[in-house]
Symmetry: C2
Subunit: 214 residues, 2 copies
DNA sequence: ATCAAACATGCACGATGTGCATGCATGCAC
DNA sequence: GTGCATGCATGCACATCGTGCATGTTTGAT
């Protein structure tokens, strides 16, 4: 028996698996966007992605997971950008820059990302899944932060910082979506950037507020 | 037709409903703790609480929701304590004090709370629900903060602050639970208080960290 | 006493998620 | 290329889930 350490990468098999996963993800997003998350069955998604019903569950354990999977991509991009920032930058500045870079990309992935967020707004059943995805990414971000600071990965600062930043981004994005109920498509991308900026700045400067002057 | 504004409170009906809800919550927690969340069926929970299977779904829409419902009580307590703090205190100090007060209570509710957190640690299926509960309480906390500052409830600061503090508490509690794997029961309650303190202080002072000296 | 609304329950049914057995595709050794 | 072992897609069966609907009972107001 020979041990192959190639595990994961090359090979038709892996490529097909990734392609199928992406196809399912996109099918789920498309159908959910068209008919509403609750009105779509796993069977329909499987049909749209041209796989068997049973096979769907080899990739995702629920349709919610499939829809929300799109969000994970955005978070991974953010973490990658963060890792690419020069280490001379303070942590929160690096994170701020990373967010702005990712938001500026503007490729198809981001349209899906916003589409998914739109869906979550109108489908309460997706909220728990969304938060679970973010929490999972918190861990990865915490590791990146710890690495940057030459700290231990389970020190309190990296975890706290990662969780807090992800939370702040979630708040800002949701807030922006709430305000964008009316405008058909682009309710000022600039405003979104400004609010991200403002939120991170506030985190950096300290969240406290004085009591009433009385 | 006379409009009753009594809605909710008094009456045998409401009392019975609350009692049943509590009974179901406790039954779910007890069974899940004994046999593991995944191994318990809704039918068993209904039997333990002495209600019909169908009736269970009049109270909770899943067993996960029933188990995690215990956590909501803790958060509500926190918000109540926060509202009770004098308005002269800065926001984060008031929150810190509120947390410490709630943690010092030590009644049966807190044992259930810790029990629930233990369950969540070992049952990934509960994580999304837990986060959803916290997110729901974020909103309530944001309103309390906005009120205290005479600000609008959908200004950015109250939301950001509420979400951030809840997140920080979650991180600290989870971290404490992770470290408490070994010790059978009480792995230093004092340490928990200190870490809560430390985390909130850090939020108040600013989360940023300088880059590498070089 | 009476009545209407709220509630618990039983029933039926579509949908979900998983274990198991099977057959086909893939990658590897020769 | 031949053969083999492993992985993966699929079909099937089944337990559980969650909900709409109909019914009988309890509660609270008049």
């Amino acid at each position: 028996m020979i041990l192959r350490e190639d595990a994961g990468m090359s090979g038709r098999r892996e490529r097909k698996k990734l392609a199928t996963r992406a196809a399912v993800r996109e099918a789920a997003l498309r159908l959910a966007a068209r008919h509403g998350v609750e009105k779509v069955t796993v069977e329909q998604i499987a049909a749209e992605a041209d796989i068997a019903l049973r096979t769907f569950f080899n990739y995702f354990s629920s349709k919610e997971e499939a829809v929300v999977a799109t969000l994970a991509a955005g978070a991974e991009e953010l973490i990658a950008e963060f890792r690419a920032r020069p280490r001379t930058e303070p942590v929160l500045r690096a994170l701020r820059e990373a967010v702005l870079v990712v938001m500026a990309h503007g490729d198809a992935g981001r349209r899906d990302h916003l589409e998914a967020l739109h869906l979550i707004r109108r489908a309460p059943s997706l909220v728990p899944q969304q938060l679970a995805v973010l929490a999972a990414q918190e861990k990865a971000l915490a590791e990146a932060i710890a690495e940057r600071l030459d700290q231990d990965a389970d020190d309190i600062y990296p975890m706290l910082c990662a969780a807090t930043v992800m939370t702040a981004l979630r708040v800002v994005f949701n807030r922006w979506l709430d305000r964008a109920v009316e405008s058909t498509d682009l309710p000022s991308m600039t405003a979104l950037r400004e609010e991200v900026d403002e939120a991170i700045t506030e985190l950096a400067a300290g969240l406290d507020r004085p009591g009433r002057a009385r």
